[in-house]
Subunit: 380 residues, 2 copies
């Protein structure tokens, strides 16, 4: 990212990326002998159609793209497809007069579809049963995350968005740190951070900001409360920004004032574990090996029994996406994956430390997207 | 609501409400001869278990309540159940070693469950198929929105939360209006409003704030952009707050400066339509009749062809819940329902007007929860 002013601008000509994504999806459909694919995931609609609204469904065939929505979003669907130079037909359904199953039926019949993929992970049993009733002549097959597989590899444009999101997080944190003073509440600090990220161009938040003081820092998903900061408290702050739909996800841990020896040891252990994991990252590494690298450090420490489960996850259009990095994963890391590396120690009733960065896997190492410094002790 | 300071406090002793909700659910299960019910909706888990986290699943039997989650949320589930005096057993599943289907199997076998309701509208085909594979001896039946039916009737505590949320919205809007000046962007104004609502105690936002200036006000779901306010612009602002999980949903429309005759006519038409609908509200009214009352005004106006579809919807733990009020609905409004009344006119390329309030249906009329004034012209 060269200039801050670019951060909040929407890209207007993405055609090559979308063409590649679509070509890859269609090749997968041909291999699986599927005439069409029904999309229910809004993330996948964004990925293939550049659509950022709600209440929409996609139909992909070898020679057509259709997006079925209603009056609330049809104009947006049209505009966003045009922005990316995607030749999608937008069907504006009158929900009072046509069921979703009927609208899908019209599209599948128009193309003579016999074998059709559908996203079984992204449609409810209730909605799906109703759709099947209206399309009894079609043979449906779960598509088993074919787009989620594709999405693991981030193209250059996607990486640029995630870098922009990470940079917003870095900047917002730098502006926040001087405001973390004794007596402020978790809610006040989290709200200030959320506000700053959006002022800097984040489209909403990557997720609800996690912030816990003192013993609450041991809750892996601590929702900010009225708890106020006291001297010696541990703090865990986990947050992210969004640019063009792409998310960042970063955690920093602090102590309010000077760390005691136990706190310092916890922080050193987690930081060492994170560096141990990062030091082995590269194209071709079994993801489990990164987990093992971190876990070896954590297990050799006095905090072994308090080590968190799982090292990280893919991040992109979704906060948590493939691959997942833990003790049982079977994925291999590949160039252009973006994953989090986030070891942690959580001592119930006492407090926690987690340090998390987003990294881009490269042929021989990685590039860190989140750049905020890792100073443990806060001047309060 | 007596005092502002109460707004951000979490209620700590809700037992009677939860007992009533659970007794009603169990009576429904007995009528349907179901030994157990599997819950997948987080809103329904909040309603029955006081659980506000993620990644959890509920099992209800006649003599037990079980919540299945993992290490990230088990402490929270325990605490929240205790806060409401709910005797729920929290099962902390190790996701690397036990599938969700296996965890459910253990619970159903422990109780000898043969017939089991499940929330087909709230579980994906992919997850459900995996659960069924682990529970082949059980006869599963969709529960067809039994809790959504129950949730239409809001008890006094729920109404108080929604009143508190509505009040936050009213106050935040009053603070915002002086800041709406020529040259501000949609994003800046929306962000300011979001920040104020949370400062006033809202738990995040009821939904992503909708704000459009000028022609963009005709988009029913306009996401705030960098568009800056110009004299004579129409503005549609649709937003809400959250208190203890309960949402508000309010829309106000404005013109930047003096309204011209067309704008004034649009506003008068929508306001008249809203009052026409509200004037007929009471226990026992077919919801369609409220829609007809508003539509009669809209259809008799010069803007007939631009009238929005649908008059409103229930609101509560979810932004959009039953009943839905439109031309084809079959619901009857009952005392203690809370619904939105939100007629609108949307002229593509020109602009829109929508006015929305949350109202509590009573035996002979209604109580308006959202109280913000309806002044159309902004002093810019």
């Amino acid at each position: 990212m060269e200039a801050d002013k670019d951060i909040s601008l929407r890209e207007t000509s993405l055609k090559p990326e979308f063409e590649r994504r679509l070509a890859s999806m269609r090749a997968n459909m041909r291999s699986a002998k599927q005439d069409a694919a029904l999309l229910f995931s809004l993330h996948n609609l964004r990925y293939l159609f550049n659509y950022s609204g709600e209440a929409a469904y996609g139909v992909v065939t070898q020679d057509e793209l259709v997006i079925i929505t209603d009056y609330r979003f049809s104009e947006q669907a049209q505009e966003e497809a045009q922005q990316a130079n995607i030749a999608a037909r937008v069907v504006c359904r009158d929900r009072d007069r046509q069921s979703l199953g009927q609208a899908i039926h019209v599209e599948l019949m128009r193309r003579g579809v016999q074998n059709c993929w559908y996203e079984a992970e992204h449609v409810s049993v209730g909605i799906w049963n109703a759709i099947v009733q209206e399309n009894l002549g079609v043979t449906f097959m779960p598509s088993l995350g074919v787009l989620e597989q594709q999405r693991k590899i981030k193209d250059a444009w996607e990486v640029a968005q995630m870098q922009a999101a990470a940079k917003i997080g870095d900047q917002a944190l730098a502006m926040l740190i001087p405001k973390i003073k004794l007596g402020v509440s978790e809610r006040e600090i989290a709200l200030e951070l959320d506000y700053q990220m959006q002022k800097l161009g984040s489209e909403g938040l990557s997720f609800v900001t996690i912030l816990g003081f003192g013993a609450r820092s041991a809750l892996p998903h601590c929702i900010p409360s009225e708890r106020r900061l006291r001297e010696g408290d541990l703090l865990v702050l986990d947050f992210g920004a969004v640019v063009n739909g792409y998310r960042s996800d970063m955690t920093r841990s602090f102590v309010a004032g000077r760390a005691d020896s136990k706190q310092a040891a916890m922080y050193d252990t987690v930081l060492t574990a994170q560096y141990a994991a990062m030091s082995v990252l590269k194209n071709g590494l079994p993801a489990q090996a990164a987990n093992t690298a971190a876990l070896t450090i954590l297990k050799a420490s006095p905090f072994a029994q308090y080590a968190g489960l799982g090292l990280g996850h893919g991040v992109g259009l979704q906060l948590h996406e493939q691959p997942f990095i833990n003790a049982v994963c079977t994925d291999t890391l590949r160039s252009q994956y973006v994953v989090t590396i986030e070891p942690g120690i959580y001592i119930p009733g006492y407090g926690g430390v987690r340090i998390e960065d987003d990294v881009l896997i490269t042929d021989d190492a990685f590039v860190r997207l989140t750049q905020a410094p890792k100073n443990f002790e806060l001047a309060i």
